[in-house]
């Protein structure tokens, strides 16, 4: 089993991990905005902050796409906390 794995790696010349890049994207750019919703059609007194994010990602073929989404403040805190966890782990691996 190990022998055949090595052969695959030699033939492809690429690390086995790159097989995933066919379905994963690379992050090219990360833009953010902190907004405050003040008032709306249905509610004159909204007053809630939110974080809007715009990701520029490239797929395996190099095609670039924009993906945007919003987060509430608690969602952002969770997002940030998870990234810190990733950073701590990736550092030790």
């Amino acid at each position: 089993m190990v022998g055949s794995l090595n052969r695959v790696m030699e033939e492809s010349g690429e690390p086995q991990l790159d097989a995933k890049s066919k379905v994963t994207n690379q992050l090219i750019d990360f833009q953010w905005k902190l907004g405050m919703a003040v008032s709306s059609d249905s509610c004159r007194s909204l007053k809630y902050p939110y974080v809007a994010v715009m990701l520029k990602v490239a797929d395996h073929s190099g095609q670039v796409k924009n993906k945007s989404f919003e987060m509430t403040i608690p969602q952002f805190q969770n997002f940030y906390r998870q990234f810190k966890e990733i950073a701590a782990i990736i550092e030790t691996v």
Binding site: Q16, K20, F30, L34, R44, P49, F69, F83, I90
Partner: protein
């Protein structure tokens, strides 16, 4: 005003029904449904202005996101108005707002969120690997999957119905929804790969966001 309208017994149920329609966006809560279920003795002609009045009051309270002082002042003024509400009705409305305020506010906030939200996040870190034959030592990589989609507010709706004290509305609403599960809108799954450098770049940006939030939240 018909005696039945002056009573406060069915008012709680009416307010629940109004909330389902006005704030939670639940379809099918018609004027006729509310009248026949909650005020069957009252004629449609008498019911209509009554419903409009209660709807107006509830919308005003929600729109201004009234705190309890504002609420008391507002409701007291309504009891003093010609064609206003009775003190008993004011008490019912007050109780209703106090217990539903958070949910209604969340619903209104969700109504104003038109962009996609972050509905889920999962990740793993793949470690270094080495091959006897390859001289390269491969760097660790973080794989992250983001679930991006429209607000899933509707999935909360049926839990609210269960908890609602307005049992009268269960049966007709049940038949309208055809079952327990309201489909949440479809999500997009975005899979991203980060090396250590990229993780730290993003982390730096996130700390900038955090700083902005702190500045915003500081008392003026």
């Amino acid at each position: 005003m018909a005696a039945e309208l002056e009573g406060s017994k069915s008012l709680s149920g009416l307010l629940s029904g109004l909330a389902q329609d006005t704030f939670y966006g639940h379809p099918g809560i018609t004027e006729e449904l509310l009248r026949s279920q909650l005020y069957p003795e009252v004629s449609p002609e008498e019911f209509r202005p009554f419903l409009a009045k209660m709807k107006g009051i509830l919308k005003s309270i929600a729109s201004a996101d009234m705190d309890f002082n504002q609420l008391e002042a507002f409701l007291t003024a309504q009891t003093k108005k010609q064609g206003g509400i009775t003190p008993e009705q004011a008490a019912v409305i007050s109780r209703f707002w106090k217990s539903h305020k958070t949910k209604i506010r969340e619903s209104l906030m969700n109504q104003s969120r038109w962009d996609s939200g972050l509905r889920g996040l999962s990740w793993r870190v793949d470690g270094k690997s080495q091959s006897r034959h390859s001289p390269q030592i491969h760097t660790p990589v973080a794989i992250m999957e983001l679930e991006i989609g429209k607000s899933g507010q509707r999935t909360l709706l049926l839990q609210d119905l269960y908890k609602s004290k307005c049992k009268d509305l269960y049966l007709p609403v049940w038949s309208l929804t055809n079952g327990l599960h309201l489909e949440a809108p479809e999500s997009e799954f975005l899979c991203l790969e980060f090396d250590e450098l990229k993780v730290n770049q993003v982390l730096k940006k996130l700390s900038e966001v955090e700083e902005s939030i702190s500045t915003l939240m500081q008392p003026a």
